[in-house]
Symmetry: C2
Subunit: 556 residues, 2 copies
Amino acid sequence: MAQSGDVPVDFRTDPSRYRHWKVAIDGRVATLAMDVREDGGLRPGYELKLNSYDLGVDIELYDAVQRLRFEHPEVAAVILTSAKERVFCAGANIRMLSQSSHPWKVNFCKFTNETRNAIEEATAESRQIYLSAVNGPCAGGGYELALATDHIVMADDGNTSVSLPEIPLLAVLPGTGGLTRLVDKRHVRRDRADFFCTVEEGVKGKRAVDWGLVDEVVPRSKLEATARRRAAELAARSDRPADARGIRLVPLERTIEGDRVVYAYVTCVIDRARGVAEITVAAPATLPPADARTIHDLGCGFWPLALARELDDLVLHLRTNEPEIGLWVLRTTGRADLVEAYDRCLADDETDWLVREIRLYLKRTLKRLDVSSRSMFALIEPGSCFAGTLLELALAADRSYMLGGVRQGDDRPPATVRLTAMNFGAYPMGNGLTRLASRFLGDPGRVDDLKGRLGQDLAAAAADEAGLVTFTPDDIDWDDEVRIAIEERVAFSADALTGMEASLRFAGPETVETKIFARLSAWQNWVFQRPNAVGPKGALQVYGTGQRSEFDRRRV
Amino acid sequence: MAQSGDVPVDFRTDPSRYRHWKVAIDGRVATLAMDVREDGGLRPGYELKLNSYDLGVDIELYDAVQRLRFEHPEVAAVILTSAKERVFCAGANIRMLSQSSHPWKVNFCKFTNETRNAIEEATAESRQIYLSAVNGPCAGGGYELALATDHIVMADDGNTSVSLPEIPLLAVLPGTGGLTRLVDKRHVRRDRADFFCTVEEGVKGKRAVDWGLVDEVVPRSKLEATARRRAAELAARSDRPADARGIRLVPLERTIEGDRVVYAYVTCVIDRARGVAEITVAAPATLPPADARTIHDLGCGFWPLALARELDDLVLHLRTNEPEIGLWVLRTTGRADLVEAYDRCLADDETDWLVREIRLYLKRTLKRLDVSSRSMFALIEPGSCFAGTLLELALAADRSYMLGGVRQGDDRPPATVRLTAMNFGAYPMGNGLTRLASRFLGDPGRVDDLKGRLGQDLAAAAADEAGLVTFTPDDIDWDDEVRIAIEERVAFSADALTGMEASLRFAGPETVETKIFARLSAWQNWVFQRPNAVGPKGALQVYGTGQRSEFDRRRV
């Protein structure tokens, strides 16, 4: 994904380093104002005019959304707006896109999609409710950002409109869920959506309200006051605690040395020759705190939160900076009983706002795995601790291998897996189902049966019978079977695997989220490599050069 | 779609011309046996070995499935098998694929998908139940064909297996719904599906049953008897009339003269300069027959059946032979009251087996419009008859323009649209909802309200208020507004439009069918243009040449 010669992208940031966003908090309401620095691009070669954005801008947005959740329990509504006088947001920067490789474009869109989904999830589940105050032209990715909020107030002036000009202007699709959110979230009538998506200048005023593109328009002079009033109304419906103190998201410690990426609990060793990343997640070393109060005191030191942050960062790092590493091998190490004890904390204290945030963060992080275009194999061996939250890693993997029995010369007991309450609802996938329910789609009763095995140590035969693992080779077969499976996997076409995995991972019901990742992204990936968009005369390529694009008119 | 220099593809055929399929009927059970002639390819340059298929083979299959429905009401179960000794079906012909252009591959897969969906629909709704007797290796598209049937019996011998070898062998995805049907229809566990789709040799015997890949395996010597027994059991559950006489699907009359394609009720005029096809559908000229008996006597002369056949053929013709014609303009002409009268026939006699078939055929034909990668505008003008079944054309269109009032110098009354009972359930889209329900996804009550307007003539203002049309320009604005809309549409990138339309047309719930067309097809389209598959060293390109494929390992 990294363009050659570029330094790796670091997803870690904090408000002291923001260049593009301003966060202001006033009691129950925060304002997140976009104020993109034109010369602040992540890469050279383009200027971020008119509040257009690149990955760097979105990394800050992602960080701001996270911090509002964890550091500001008192904030119950967030107004998304622009700090610029004459524009809300012009969307993703076009020159940046036209200079980017296909993989960069696709990965960029994936991350921005995840951040917009996180905004919707903050609204729905953290009850930190986002709304938009559209105070100037709101185009493309700018409107898609507004679409991710639950209420859109727009200025009714000659200058301000919402638009998705990608198709008429650039011959690509809106990159962050716009088409799906129009018809499936806002239920804009499809013929109106069709018209809207082909009109470069977009729609404004009353028609935008009548068609459901925005929720209300008000005179420019009343925009700010209206947004504040709506924010207060929405905040009044939130259950976020007005008097709680947030925790600080301290800088995440990470060491990259050669081919090793090391965090406190997560370690990744990259084998470039084979194209494999060996990821090991360690169980906590000690018992969990006895009460929610102590969880708050521990903050980022609380193992589940540390785990979420480390895994999240690693996934983003590998996706963006290590595109040739096609297979992630997932292992765990440590004591399953301690993992289970922490899971009990997460289950028992779920009404605590911070515990809720940690559960949601773990959920989002596991979902990042689901949509990562990498193969994942889980290896379940003696000394591992695939219990509860960590068992989700094996369930997220494309397949799992569990060693049956012990290894010669290894006096550790056989590997086991263990279900906890956290496997039965805390971590739904994008399709709205738990990984267990998705796994047993044809036999839902099995999930209920498994509740009877909560807390039991299931060795290979039992885990196999329960349907929790794919293969259970014994010591004699293990090395060859696993080695061959890995060698074969990395030898297949990267693209065919991506298409296959995206198809098999999302069985069952569809949601706006699965439609965005499993359907819309695929169309977009397709369009992103069509000559009409990216060929020498393609619209994305010639945009702004004064040349006319030339299209192959054949419909495919 | 047509390769340059090729003669156009004709989708019309009949059993006397079959070269690849054998149909045998024995009471309630038909056998459809694949027996592909190696030298019978639609195009030169490849041999159809091992029961591999190309579009020509699939056109015959499509015809056979249609005829069994209409010509054989007594057939209640259909055994799909191979007439060859040593192979069931090797799937789509690989040399054909590697020689084909991207548009040809995509269009070929679309048509084969529609035929497999029709097999499932025949099973579910015509109660002509398909099962497979797998009597030899069943690979790729061969297995996908079996997956479209409701019961798969497989020979348990050393030679016979099911497999999806596309990913390991060709670096493409299974082309006709295999991935989706594995996890969403047969509910194969996703980790097992993952393994299965990466194993070239596939899975056989007991494991194939345990994993749900097939329903039963039996010794080779018992395969035929078992299939017959299962067919008899399935037939016993069918409501198809054992003693009814079928109608004959007589040759469909069509004239192609220059840029005009003319049928009895459907006319298409192609404007190559603009890239537009002007399609006009005529209402029936006379009152419908008074009873179902007369419908049977009329057979293909019964207007709704004629309409379905003509529109079906035209859509297939335009898709395959006119790829540069990107916009289909849909008009109707004639008396709305006659259309409504025929709709009443279709509604009143729905328990008649033939009427049921005609309704289902209309449904399938309208669904072909939904998945056609062409823009569609409906123009509703004085003299038109967008009523009931024909109103579905306007609802299927991406947008509609309805002339408000009359034209100067035209003494015909203003255009109206009319709802009939057929708009409220007979023609669900792939998502399982009617076009009205899909249109008003956010406001389901509106569909109920519209039932109150059944049979009323709604002029432009009323139709607009009812939400049935997109724009209602008057005589002064009409010409410019419509002309500009058409000019703009055909000037946009063909690919961006395809991606947009596929996204906006399928809002709401997902089914196996929408997943196949809206999601899986997109991934496949993407993979079908990736260098790992179709580049000079791509797997599909070098297959069979003795060269090794070379892959770009970057994951996208």
